[in-house]
Amino acid sequence: MRPARPAVRFDPRRTVDFVVVGSGAAGGIIAKELATAGLTVVVLEQGPRVEPPQFEHDEIKTLFQSALQNNPAGFTFRRTASETAKPGQIQLLYHRLVGGGSVMFTANYWRFREIDFIEKSRLGAISGTGLEDWPITYRDLEPYYTKAEWELGVSGEPGPFDPPRTRPYPLPPLPVKSSGVLFERGARALGLHPQPAPLAILSQPFNGRPACQHCGYCLGFGCEFRAKSSTLYTVIPMAEATGRCEVRPNSYVRRIEVDRKGRVTGATYFDENKKEQVQRARAVVLCCNGSETPRLLLLSASSRFPNGLANSSGVVGKYLMFNGYSSSSGVFERPLNEFKSVTATRVLYDFYESDPKRGFYGGGAPDARSFAYPTIFALGGLPHDAPSWGAGYKRILRDYYTRTMNVDGHSTSLPLETNTISLDPDMKDAWGLPAMRVTYKDHADDLAMMRFLQDRAIEILEAAGARRTWRQPVQETNLAAHLLGTCRMGDDPRTSVVDRYHRAHDVRNLFICDGSSLITGGRGQPTATIQALAYRAGEHIAAFARRGEI
């Protein structure tokens, strides 16, 4: 999958057709779609290019030191606008390198369902929230889910609640782990319907890449085997092989430039020596994720766009969604050895849809998960009332390490206007730019849904025969790996940032496609939808360019 010829290098002074900012789950796909359509593309990626042989199973470096996050920027956090935001109150987990989050994600690959696109009309408006229907439907997006699954490589098997699909999964499910077997046992005993978890990990060789070797290091780690379907070694080499796409790492964009007519002309960025460079382009696509994209738009404020680029609606940065999460554990009689193979092999969609009988809005799905990186498990894997050091601790650790599994809940976040990405008035990042400020408070219904799924998780673990179960207390979100909703798509320029083709309402030659485009956040696994949107957007943007409509 190496480029067939040396990758092209563009002189920054040359005007290329497109600058794509960000090379992650969405940016890699957009770049490939544009380049294969005959357009010239420069991808500006703020992080380095790390190739698979450099990925390691090093907990200290990869997890603790966040080596793949490459995050010198820093940001501040507050729960509500009445507080002064402070650094270090929350974790935003995303990775700055070529391939972005697609390098280190767990690779859960759930499609959204019909309901996710039309929930407001089905349920009615929810007071105090920004719950809206999407301007597109599941049917509009289905071909692009299929394209993503077949081009990137996804393993799975449809279950009883799956939305309709036009093609089967390209690959069968990964082998079930002991956690999956026990999850199935417990769920079936309760009359529920567990199914194989869809994963963007190869169960068999595919497109020149090897099958998963079951090393056990998916969540948070890059895959040295290239079995996890990251954009880094799927679509990005395809884009480069056209000879029309340059991926330029260590390029941190500080501003999107605009001319007097209000059209974007390119991007100003810091190169690896923190020297400012300008890449000129006929059009720009932002794929920086749901936190960095709105920040860049706000950083790009100008006399013509005083509230930030593409922000006449005032909606840029608002309606941030993280997805809900809960975690429970159970210990069993015999070894499960969850340190082997992929993170999750079984999932349960019985609770996907919101049910008025529960008394609150929300939906989600629990899955059978490993939690077995040795250092992390030793630090925090045992029940809270277990000894935390000494002979008693060691005894329990030895007993539990190979015998423990998790059932984690993944669920909805209501879009709230008060949950935002904005610019911090005081703190600066390592380049002297205003740092990102995150304001986020979970809706009461989001917390209720997390607790609901945790109760179901405990029931499943008990029905599976766990010797003992324990819960991670549900609390307000203090770790966010999904960054969604902050440049929402819509038909009305007064209430949304991009139209249904990801074109900014305010700027004809600016497009935005990443987690920020989502209007609702689904049930906790957004990557498949972000990538389906990227395939769809890439196709439309290329057509606009060919017709001179940029």
Binding site: S66, R334, P335, F339
Partner: protein
């Protein structure tokens, strides 16, 4: 702030805790330096008490003996190896000299305070390492909510279970104790329950 540094079990949250942030917010380049250093040091004997020990990077022999004794209480030796056999103190020394350098001063200050407590409780005994094991345990139980102890717990367990090139987990002792294997390529069955299901017991 430090009473329950790991109240969230998900690994992702570990580094967001006060202790985690302090120990872990180092520059990855320094981690690389630590690994290089450890690789060099691994070529010569360096455990405390070995006949011709490699000099410690940052610890005095007394400090090394104290930290070794504390680590050995946190993860004791029983019928399987503990922190002492896993050379956690070597991990501490190497880390405090490289990627965790900013933790050196607070950690050694905490050790001084602990030894002050030793002297106060047992006049004439000046160092933790010189206490009888029962008294070591008694003292640490009284100290377990202190930032120093929590920092030592954290560092001991990281040294026990992280990659051996960091200086601890010698001969993969930590991994062998809990049943982790670093083969990194497996085929099913992975555990007893999927093996049973594959045999038709589902």
């Amino acid at each position: 702030m430090l009473a329950d540094p790991l109240s969230r079990r998900t690994f992702l949250a570990v580094s967001s805790t006060a202790l985690g942030a302090a120990w872990l917010a180092a520059d990855p380049a320094l981690v690389r330096a630590a690994l290089d250093h450890a690789a060099r040091a691994a070529r010569s004997p360096l455990s405390p008490g070995s006949p011709d020990p490699v000099p410690w990077d940052v610890l005095t022999p007394d400090q090394a003996a104290d930290l070794d004794a504390i680590a050995a209480q946190i993860f004791p030796t029983d019928d399987t190896p503990g922190a002492r056999e896993a050379r956690v103190v070597t991990f501490l020394d190497r880390s405090l000299g490289t990627w965790a350098a900013q933790q050196r001063e607070p950690l050694l200050h905490g050790l001084d305070e602990l030894n002050g407590e030793v002297e106060r409780r047992w006049p004439g005994t000046q160092r933790f390492a010189n206490l009888a094991p029962e008294r070591q345990l008694e003292l640490l139980r009284a100290q377990e909510q202190t930032p120093f102890f929590q920092q030592m717990r954290f560092a001991t367990l990281v040294g026990m279970f992280s990659l051996p090139p960091y200086g601890g987990n010698a001969d993969k002792a930590g991994w062998r104790v809990i049943g982790f294997e670093d083969r990194y390529a497996w085929q099913p069955p992975f555990g007893d329950y999927d093996a049973e299901a594959a045999r038709g017991g589902r």
